[in-house]
């Protein structure tokens, strides 16, 4: 196998044994990027020099007798929503054209400290708003399984890069499914951790109460490895939890017998493509064969997830995105302006794409006097009901199972003019963000020749358990080992 085809844990073993050097790994990955990036367009910026320098440092440390950690020398792609000191960070938006943050996001620093060379910044829907990566202001990323199809979104660049062998692992962010849905559509594994498990400091905010950073990787074991680096309290993030972090790799025992799984009826009903549903049902059967007790559960409030999400997330976004005004950084209009408010309006009008503008307007409306109680406040109340549905379901189930996405990857441009259809792509993933719980997406079969994702949801801070279930499934199957032919 070529170096770019290996998983992070396979690379880790070869690096530790001295079979390969970190520089060799980085060079092999960059060679692969050179080979396929023209077809995939996963990256917005490449940081080759920096990556090779980091790789050299890891090799030097190993040569000096140090044992620098499991992922030292394993390169990583970083979604462009994460601040990288001195390196272009645009969030896929014109309004942040040329923006180089003066600081690293906590997760970026943690990866750096773990000795993971940064390959570059991956493409995304503008400000993480979208499910296809078509909303990027810069380029359209293509699904490595079928270049005429989308990779999903908003972390489409990260997912496509991992699937195409352009990165062994990558970081994404997930507000309504933005790690899990592209992972599913690209046939890889992706984890959205519990809200508060991973620091959001340096993650450019879309919806602060929903955003979480997590890994995209070729298998669950790699997700666990990266989680060992990412998870933990950060004094810079007041919402990060001060709860002990287990060793996620040590938790991958392969034993899931006796675990109780629930399948929410609301996530297996209308809207799920029959072929996808069939694949997911087969995967659930496989879990039962591994010794899990599976039964259907009812979670009636999940039906309201989409409207609740499209009030809460845009409201927070409208406020979070107010800072892009052309005064301090990013895009400033070159038109004549009458006054400072005109400067704000023109800069923002030019800098934001249509989907972002739409959500800002939606959020502004939801927060406005006279509408707040009817929309934002009501949505927060329903959000509490959704959480209570999960609490009830988790009272007698250890994990919940559903499809990740109701469809396989759709064609580029296919849903661009149908915003509602586009938003339905997140119908299975959004409830997880509203409840703040962790969820994993793993490949579980093929439909129409394209990957299908299985979503495994867990109780708050039980990432270890859902990772164990996902890993056990991957030990028994080989869907995760399938690679697109590029």
């Amino acid at each position: 196998m070529k170096l770019h085809e290996l998983t992070a844990h396979e690379l880790s073993e070869r690096l530790a044994s001295g079979e390969v050097s970190a520089v060799e790994v980085a060079e092999a990955i960059f060679a692969r990027i050179e080979e396929v990036e023209g077809q995939v367009d996963a990256f917005l910026a490449l940081t080759r020099d920096q990556a090779l320098e980091q790789a050299r440092q890891v090799d030097d440390r190993r040569a000096g007798g140090e044992k620098p950690g499991a992922l030292a020398g394993v390169p990583i792609g970083i979604k462009d929503v994460l601040c990288t000191k001195g390196v272009l960070t645009t969030c896929g938006s014109r309004i942040l054209e040329g923006f180089r943050p003066p600081y690293d996001a906590t997760v970026v620093r943690r990866c750096r400290d773990a000795g993971m060379p940064m390959l570059g910044k991956t493409n995304m829907d503008e400000f993480a708003m979208g499910s296809s990566t078509e909303n990027s202001a810069y380029k359209v990323t293509r699904n490595p399984w079928d270049l005429d199809r989308v990779p999903g979104g908003s972390s489409g660049g990260s997912a496509a890069a991992v699937a195409a062998g352009e990165a062994p692992v990558a970081l994404g962010s997930d507000t309504g499914g933005s790690i899990r849905q592209p992972a599913a559509l690209c046939g890889i594994s992706g984890l959205k951790p519990t809200y508060g498990r991973v620091s959001r400091y340096g993650l450019v905010a879309y919806a602060s109460s929903l955003d979480q950073v997590g890994p995209l990787a070729r298998d669950v074991r790699d997700c666990a490895l990266v989680m060992n680096v990412l998870a933990g309290r950060d004094p810079h993030d007041a919402t990060s939890a001060d709860i002990p972090v287990p060793d996620y790799v040590a938790g991958l025992t392969g034993d899931v017998s006796g675990l109780r799984a629930g399948v929410p009826r609301e996530l297996m009903g209308e809207g799920i493509e029959p072929e996808v549903k069939a694949v997911v049902e087969a995967a659930i059967g496989q879990l039962a064969e591994l010794g899990m007790a599976v039964e259907e559960v009812e979670m009636p409030n999940l039906d309201y997830s989409l409207p609740v999400y499209y009030l809460v997330a845009p409201a927070e976004a409208a406020s979070n995105l107010a800072r892009y005004d052309g005064v301090r950084y990013g895009h400033r209009t070159e038109e004549e302006v009458a006054d400072v408010y005109d400067l704000f309006a023109k800069s923002r009008g030019e800098g934001f794409g249509p989907e972002v503008r739409l959500r800002i307007m939606l959020g502004t409306f939801a927060l406005s006097a006279g509408y707040y109680d009817a929309y934002y406040l009501k949505a927060q109340r329903v959000r509490t009901l959704i959480k209570q549905d999960f609490d009830a379901a988790f009272a007698d189930h250890d994990v919940l199972i559903s499809p990740t996405s109701p469809t396989v990857a759709f064609g580029i441009g296919e849903k661009a003019d149908d915003p509602l259809q586009m938003k339905l792509a997140d119908i299975c993933t959004i409830p997880v963000n509203l409840a703040g719980i962790p969820a994993l997406s793993i490949p579980c079969g093929m439909a129409e020749g394209l990957p299908v994702g299985l979503q495994i949801m867990g109780r708050p801070f039980e990432e270890d358990l859902i990772l164990r279930v996902g890993d056990a499934y991957q030990q028994a199957t080989d869907w995760h080992a399938k690679r697109p032919a590029l």
């Binding site: 943050p101 996001a105 919402t239 406020s319 005004d325 408010y341 927060l367």
Partner: protein, 517 residues
């Protein structure tokens, strides 16, 4: 938050309906009486004050940047207070403590659980284009300050004291361009809002004076209005006590001293009274006015057609604030005696005149120095008061030394005053000794002994000097004998001169009169 003269609540009425709500009647609903009607004279002013206080913490509200005043522009900044993409706020525990301390001093209740909220509006001095503040869940509420204004007891109710972050500053250049300075951005700000309980400008002045004293006494702010560490915005309108109907609310801005608040409120009450009296309704509408110091008048800044919509919502980047009850209790228990109470006690316990008591209690440190001296000094408290207010303060002021850092302690001052009481030194010599104490940090007795400054009270020694002075000045001696009592002053002066001020003046007087008699 702009004060509304009504209960704090989530007013999410459609904007058009809000103006017509009962708590903010429009002018059309107020029957304008003719000047001859007695009712007019009964219109009572309703004045409320919203005060912003910069808290004297070392670091900012949500980041570790310094709060130092007067630093190089845009040097006390970081990703968080600049609102850079991806930055997050972390609350300053000390700032929370200072609000709780203020709550204790103002008799407020501290919320068991409260939240920060985002106040959304666009302005270049606000880098996130929202301010982290508090809205429907303030940290503390329902307190009061009791004032004594011209002998009348007035209770001003405090509606709330909450926590927020300060904004930056815009500097407009003559060239037409503007600069933005973010050092101030993110400094912890406490907002204290009263009910509209003031009926006169004098009450406003006394309230601000007392509030400033309290804030300084509890050490939460230097409350300096000129530096902008304390900012006051009054709201003024008039109400008919019979019908309860009121004129539209006027907010006044650009006030940078207690005096200007006093003058602006006085002016505005009168302006509104006259407008009503003369039937000029068109001048009475909801508006923001600017105090024009040079003209001594308020001037229209902007009409407020609708109430501002700040789209408040709970700040999702922060978890709810739940101060530990034991901690709150501890802060309440350690709340020091407040200046007004201490002023009363000084008059009672030490028999001081009101003036002295007030001056001494204006600063907690000065009052402490006074009491520490009294504790060790057996003479009259008024003597201590005179020395503290006089020589001690002027030496400190000259040297620009804070009272807390004074090299002369209460103990040291008591020792000096005891030397006067014991007639070891004169009051005049004592002034020099005090200056030396400041300079050297040495004790009074040590200085007096080292420099031989003890008074000459040896009658034999004094008699010889007096004889000599009488002999040298036969003219004045003769004048005295001839009945010119004043002439003795000159002769005593000569004795003091000959002894370099060390003669005991009382004793000299006595012996001189004997000899000339």
């Amino acid at each position: 938050m702009a004060p509304t003269h009504g209960a704090v609540r989530r007013a999410r009425l459609p904007v058009a309906g809000r103006l017509r709500s009962s708590r903010m009647p429009v002018i059309e609903q107020l029957p304008i009486p003719s000047p001859s009607q007695v009712m007019l004279m009964a219109l009572e002013p309703l004045v409320g004050l919203e005060v912003h206080v910069q808290l004297a913490t070392d670091s900012k509200m949500f980041c570790g940047c310094s709060t130092q005043f007067g630093a190089q522009p845009n040097s006390n900044v970081c990703p968080t207070c600049l609102g850079l993409p991806g930055s997050l706020p972390v609350p300053n525990r000390r700032a929370v403590e200072y609000v709780i301390r203020t709550a204790a001093a103002l008799g407020c209740t501290v919320a068991k659980r409260c939240r920060f909220a985002r106040k959304n509006y666009f302005y270049p001095d606000l880098p996130k284009n929202f301010q982290v503040s508090q809205y429907d869940e303030p940290l503390s509420f329902d307190g009061h300050i009791d004032l004594n204004v011209n002998g009348d007891e007035v209770r001003i109710r405090i509606r709330r004291a909450h926590l927020e972050e300060d904004t930056g500053k815009n500097l407009h250049l003559a060239s037409g361009s503007s600069l933005v300075e973010y050092n101030r951005c993110g400094i912890p700000l406490m907002e204290i809002v009263t009910e509209p309980d003031f009926t006169t400008a004098e009450q406003c002045r006394e309230y601000l004076t007392q509030l400033r004293l309290i804030l300084r006494a509890i050490g939460v702010s230097n409350a300096n209005m000129e530096e902008g560490a304390m900012r006051a915005e009054p709201t003024v309108n008039l109400r008919d006590p019979e019908t309860g109907e009121a004129t539209p609310m006027v907010e006044i801005k650009n006030l940078n001293s207690i005096r200007s608040v006093y003058e602006a409120v006085r002016y505005e009450i009168e302006r509104q009274r006259q407008a009503v009296a003369e039937g000029r309704e068109d001048e009475l509408f909801q508006q923001t006015r600017r105090w024009d110091e040079a003209n001594g008048a308020t001037a229209l800044m902007r009409r407020k057609e609708t109430s501002d919509d700040y789209m408040y919502f709970p700040e999702p980047d922060l978890v709810p604030l739940e101060p530990d009850p034991a901690w709150v209790e501890e802060i309440y228990a350690s709340c020091p005696e407040l200046p007004a109470a201490r002023c009363d006690r000084f008059q009672e316990q030490y028999g001081l005149p009101e003036y002295d008591a007030r001056v001494l209690t204006e600063s907690r440190e000065v009052a402490d120095l006074f009491e520490a001296t009294c504790e060790r000094f057996e003479g009259a408290a008024k003597i201590v008061s005179n020395w503290v207010m006089g020589d001690v303060m002027s030496l400190l002021n000259e040297a620009e030394v804070a009272v807390a850092d004074s090299p002369v302690t209460g103990e040291g001052l008591a020792e000096l005053l005891a030397l006067i009481e014991e007639s070891v030194i004169s009051g005049k010599i004592a002034k020099d000794v005090l200056a030396k104490m400041f300079e050297t940090g040495k004790g009074a007795r040590e200085i007096v002994e080292e420099e031989g400054l003890g008074q000459i009270s040896d009658t034999g020694e004094l008699e010889a000097i007096i004889d000599q002075v009488i002999a040298d000045n036969p003219g004045p001696a003769e004048d005295f004998r001839g009945g010119k009592d004043k002439a003795i002053g000159f002769l005593i002066g000569q004795v003091m001169k000959a002894t370099k001020g060390q003669a005991n003046p009382g004793l000299v007087n006595e012996i001189m009169r004997e000899k000339l008699g």
